[in-house]
Symmetry: C2
Subunit: 389 residues, 2 copies
């Protein structure tokens, strides 16, 4: 039946009872629902759904579910998902990204209820979820991005995707969209977490982009199909982006940007936060610069910098500053001083060179043959000159 059809391979190993229970539980509470999540972990999805529906859940859980427990249905949610071509992925599926979401459970355990793991995920796209998140990076930033920011976001995403990283973001205008596009251009999967049902194209101007993401990667949401976007849902959604990236790169962030919220969440989850600098004259980079100044984010300027942070053992630290080599680099201060005194054209005597450079004559006499050996000085009839190289 529908659940089996739509669930497809990863769903195949999970029975309808679980799917129905999880569908109901994901619709009954407004995320994050730490009490409900804990209740499910303790009693299992089926039993938890039963108790919630019957209205006999403990008070903390009741607070999260009472408002909707009689008004939502797992069947209806799964039907809607089937219509929209969404599949339900639950913790009971082998494809569930436990590695990513355990950090949320841990954060909840240490008293961050806002970090509760999702009850289930509604997914548009067939990409193998857990695997693709095995090597991942979140790239986020301001919606009000500059051309510079979008360009850098696309280049970072493209470069990291080619290196095998799955780019995770929020499908928003600006940096998010550029990051998804960069990953798609590399022919790699990318994952977009929405703050509304995965069946809704939000923002509407990104419906083509969302379709492409769904075909090559996945459009994902913890909200039941049909759930509208709401301001607070974007902040709640951000925790999933932060949790699903091994690290978070903020490309541009204004003084008041959701990207800063994602960065703070990643930081709270113990994930490295990186920020890309920009012109100090650009409002769009204020947030990034502040993250670096406050020590919350590492400054990164290229893909290698990000790779060093994400897989410190995977890649050796790149020499950050490739300095163009020069023939005179090997010379010490004194030898440079003498070399500077040599003329390109006229031959100069050792005495003159000594006076001119201020070096003792014996030192000049000793150094000149060395410079000649190094191919930096030429011995002539009437003295020495610089080797025009």
């Amino acid at each position: 039946m529908w659940s089996m059809e739509k669930a497809g391979p990863p769903g195949a190993e999970v029975g309808d009872e679980i799917l129905l229970a999880r569908a109901y539980l994901s619709a009954v509470a407004e995320p994050p629902a730490p009490a409900l999540a804990g209740f499910i972990a303790a009693h299992g999805a089926s039993r938890a759904a039963e108790v919630v529906r019957s209205g006999s859940a403990p008070p903390s859980v009741a607070d999260e579910v009472d408002a909707r427990r009689e008004h939502v249905s797992g069947e209806a949610a799964l039907e809607a998902a089937a219509m929209a071509g969404l599949r339900l992925v639950t913790p009971e599926h082998s494809g569930w990204p436990h590695k990513s979401f355990d950090s949320l459970a841990d954060a909840t355990a240490i008293g961050l209820p806002g970090m509760a793991a999702p009850i289930a995920l509604w997914v548009r796209g067939q990409v193998a979820f857990a695997e693709s998140l095995g090597t991942s990076v979140a790239i986020v930033g301001a919606r009000a991005a500059s051309g510079y920011g979008e360009r850098v976001a696309a280049e970072f995403a493209h470069g990291l995707a080619i290196e095998g990283y799955t780019v995770v973001s929020g499908a928003a205008y600006g940096i998010d969209g550029a990051a998804h596009r960069g990953a798609l251009a590399a022919g790699r999967p990318t994952i977009a977490f929405l703050a509304c049902g995965a069946d809704i194209d939000y923002p509407s101007g990104h419906s083509m982009l969302l379709r492409a993401i769904g075909e090559q990667g996945a459009v994902v949401s913890e909200y039941a199909p049909g759930t509208e976007p709401r301001k607070h849902r974007f902040l709640v959604r951000n925790r999933l982006i932060a949790a699903c990236g091994q690290g978070t790169v903020v490309v541009e962030a204004g003084a008041r940007s959701g990207a800063s919220n994602t960065a703070n969440t990643a930081d709270a989850l113990g994930r490295p936060v990186m920020a890309v600098p920009g012109p100090v004259t650009s409002k769009s980079s204020v947030g990034c610069h502040e993250m670096v100044r406050s020590g919350k984010a590492l400054l990164v300027t290229n893909v290698d910098h990000v790779r060093e942070v994400l897989s410190p053992l995977g890649v050796g630290p790149t020499t950050d500053l490739p300095v163009p080599a020069k023939a005179t680099d090997s010379l010490d201060r004194v030898a440079k001083q003498l070399h500077d005194a040599l003329s390109d054209s006229a031959a100069t005597s050792a005495d003159e060179l000594a006076r001119d450079s201020g070096l003792p004559l014996r030192k000049v006499r000793a150094l000149l043959p060395a410079l000649e050996l190094a191919g930096l000085a030429v011995r002539e009839e009437r003295g020495w000159s610089r080797n025009p190289t």
Copy 2:
């Protein structure tokens, strides 16, 4: 006599014998001359000059002076200075910036011979030296600067000059020139240290700028009049810029920039180093970004950031991130959740709002009056709506 005429007020208190001795000693050795500096400190300028001229100086000193001791003259140097309108400022003058140069002496003492303090300074301009360096900042950067870099350098210099900081730099093309111009535009003194005689306009394209600096501030060099610029002299000169700024701000620096050398010197002298970020797509900012990544420099994006570093007690830490306030800022997560559920137009019942927001009905009933009080919700006949503010 010439020395008196030219020395002017600060020179007045120093006798000709000292001036002649210092003039000779500043010409006889190629800076840095740590052994000679130590010898002068131990025996005084007059006696040191006498011993050096007679060729009976100890070996370490002899190495620094023998090549020129018979070929330079204090009288000639002072004559040339008089012709060029330069005055000689020596450690014996009250106007000598001991506070700035003691750091060099200390660095030499701990085994950095390249840091030796200058023997004397040749100065174009009447500005009171020590006083003007009492509150100072070095602003340096690449010659191959971008328009962005020059604009930022000029704005930083202008802003810091207005705050009473004397801007110190090297008069080079690019960032240095922009920094001097910014300070001049603020009507404040600025000091340029040259890698050649202070009587030489280098770079020649900056002759007008150097004249303006000499009139409003000072063009300074430890090299005797007529000394030509040489590659190694720029690096040697950089130590004076680093020592004369309470801190050093690098605005743009490429992968191979003298500005990095100045920054390293400032760092070695225990002076704070600051770097201004820029587009990661700009070669001119590579050096600045690396200084921040390596922890050598603090990232600064405006004048207040620099002031915080230079006078931490003088100015309170500015709130780095002025966040625009919003009426809903004061609301907690749950209240925001309810506020999001309110409709701008249609009135909604508490029951509907509970279902919609997923919040317990009793919580909704308790929160709505609070939102009303906060002017964020409006109570109507058939329910509640959002206050259109």
